[in-house]
């Protein structure tokens, strides 16, 4: 899931301005794959262990204070197809910061990228809530 220019982003109660994109990626960290006696192709696959990561890219000049790896809190963002509140959606996730990095490009302003791992409330519930 890729969200460009979300209208409002907060983490642990702090509002972040100048967020250019939020990317939510999902990956299986362990696969269960099974083969039969009938041929070379798997007949079963499942993802019993998964990881949902969230990447927030923002303008690095927006402040000196950035979260640190291990910081935990609720990440919330609101997006809508237009600048109005019409059809606005809010995405919420309990997250832990895993990486904070910066990039200086010649053709664009410096960016700060904050990466999170999203946590489930009980292991079964999806870590991302959209309302």
């Amino acid at each position: 899931m890729l969200i460009l220019n979300p209208r409002r982003v907060t983490f642990a109660g702090t509002q972040w301005n100048d967020v250019t994109l939020v990317a939510i990626d999902r990956a299986a960290t362990r696969l269960a794959v099974g083969y039969s006696d009938n041929g070379p192709h798997p007949t079963f696959a499942d993802a019993p262990e998964q990881r949902t990561t969230v990447r927030v890219v923002m303008d690095a000049s927006s402040g000196l204070v950035a979260p640190r790896p291990g910081d935990a809190g609720t990440l919330s963002l609101t997006t809508s197809p237009t600048a109005s509140d019409a059809a606005a959606q809010t995405l919420t996730a309990s997250c832990v910061v895993t990486r904070v990095s910066h990039e200086l490009g010649l053709k664009h302003t410096p960016t700060r990228t904050i990466e999170f791992i999203a946590l489930s409330t009980n292991g079964a519930a999806d870590p991302i809530t959209i309302s």
Partner: protein, 123 residues
Amino acid sequence: MSSFKSINLFGSGPHRFSLSVQGEEVVPNYVLGNGDHGTYPVGPRELDVIVTGRLVAASESALWTLRDAIAAQLTDPPVPGTLIDNHGRSWSNMSFIRYEEHGPTDRGRVCSIAYTATFRCFA
């Protein structure tokens, strides 16, 4: 479809059949008191047929039903029966002697667990 005593124990998920080591069982002579070096053939090895696979169920309770059905065949003493693989190859007089699960239950789209089941043809 594979079966043991005509029961489809492993059909819920992928499973494969393999054979253990076959041939002569040899014992060091010093174990038998027949000398201090070399080995002595004592007879053919017992045949083991090994089923490796994964039980797959839609729910936790359904997975336990599959496990319980397998455990019910692990009798003491073992009661031999016919084991048939996925291609119709059969082994008669096989005893179900061991069932081992590998790791915790995997809970993804479905509940599943990997296992190894060992059947032996006792001499």
